[in-house]
């Protein structure tokens, strides 16, 4: 009983932290040559849930985070919400598979997730706007997603080492 309550509380805290990171990050868009690039700090919550519990918990945390953050910023069912949702769905699937197969450490899983998130968003943009040369941004965004994937993995590994030292990171 107490264990279940502990888990629910921890997951809710993760969702709340994820929402906060997503909203705060949207205040500071890194305006560069590439539009639409973000580090994706909110993915720390999802990656943490994946390693501390499992794929099911990650899906719950990421799904709730995307939904509630959109509700809070008033972008529910808008284009950015759909982009966020497609990216997250694809990255959840990829990260689950990457962790299941056991070849990758947390760095590989996070990088694969970030790259597939980018790919999902580009595909969604191409479908929504019917403008296929948005794919021109794909190379630069893929390269940048490696950077952000490694950053997220590093931060999450640090968090896991402090908060649940028993988790296997390999």
């Amino acid at each position: 009983m107490t264990k279940g309550i502990h888990k629910i509380t921890a997951l809710s805290l993760l969702v709340a932290a994820g929402i906060l990171m997503q909203i705060v990050e949207s205040f500071f868009p890194i305006v560069m040559v590439i539009p639409g690039y973000k580090i994706g700090l909110a993915n720390i919550a999802g990656l943490y849930a994946l390693y501390a519990w499992g794929p099911k918990e990650m899906t719950v945390v990421t799904g709730l985070r995307v939904f509630i953050a959109a509700l809070a910023t008033g972008t529910l069912f808008s284009v950015s919400f759909i982009l966020s949702l497609t990216g997250c769905t694809l990255s959840i699937i990829t990260m689950t598979l990457a962790k299941r197969c056991g070849w990758f450490s947390i760095y590989g899983v996070s990088t694969a997730g970030a790259a597939s998130h980018t790919l999902g968003q580009i595909i969604a943009i191409c479908f929504i706007y019917q403008q296929f040369f948005m794919g021109l941004f794909l190379p630069a965004l893929t390269a940048l997603s490696v950077v952000s994937g490694l950053c997220i993995a590093w931060l999450t590994a640090k968090l896991l080492r402090r908060l649940s030292p028993k988790t296997k990171l390999a």
Binding site: P35, W103, F104, Y129, Q131, F133, P139, A170
Partner: protein, 119 residues
């Protein structure tokens, strides 16, 4: 870091470089700036003729300036103003995209063959 991680990272970086390569093949000068709203061609601006134009985007008017063989979006309504910050563009490989206004400015060559290639 495992070996598979490094292989994945190298693979992703190599893929992004490979995806980038075809863009360098299209370095020829364009002759027109095509303005599209919701993928519908609204204007075809000759680049050798300076001028200011306005098109109706989703969030309001989008101002487009052609100057010195280059085209730029100068004023528009959008949250981050990416397309006005982008400045002047003269390469067919670099479109000006304003997704909030669903407006796209691309540089294209004059021949009809070129158009079908880009489409």
């Amino acid at each position: 870091m495992k070996k598979a991680d490094k292989i994945l990272i190298v693979f992703l970086l190599a893929a992004s470089v490979l995806l980038l390569l075809p863009l360098f093949g299209r370095t020829e000068q364009g002759q027109y700036a095509i303005v599209r709203v919701r993928n519908e061609e609204k204007m075809r601006l000759p680049l050798n003729q300076d001028g200011e134009y306005t098109v109706q985007g989703t969030l309001g008017d989008v101002h487009i300036v052609v100057n010195d063989g280059k085209a730029a979006v100068t004023q528009e309504n959008s949250p981050h103003h990416y397309c006005s910050k982008q400045g002047y563009v003269d390469s067919p490989a670099v479109p000006i995209v304003c997704l909030p206004n669903e407006t796209v400015v691309t540089i294209e060559g004059g021949s009809s063959l070129e158009d079908t290639v880009i489409q």
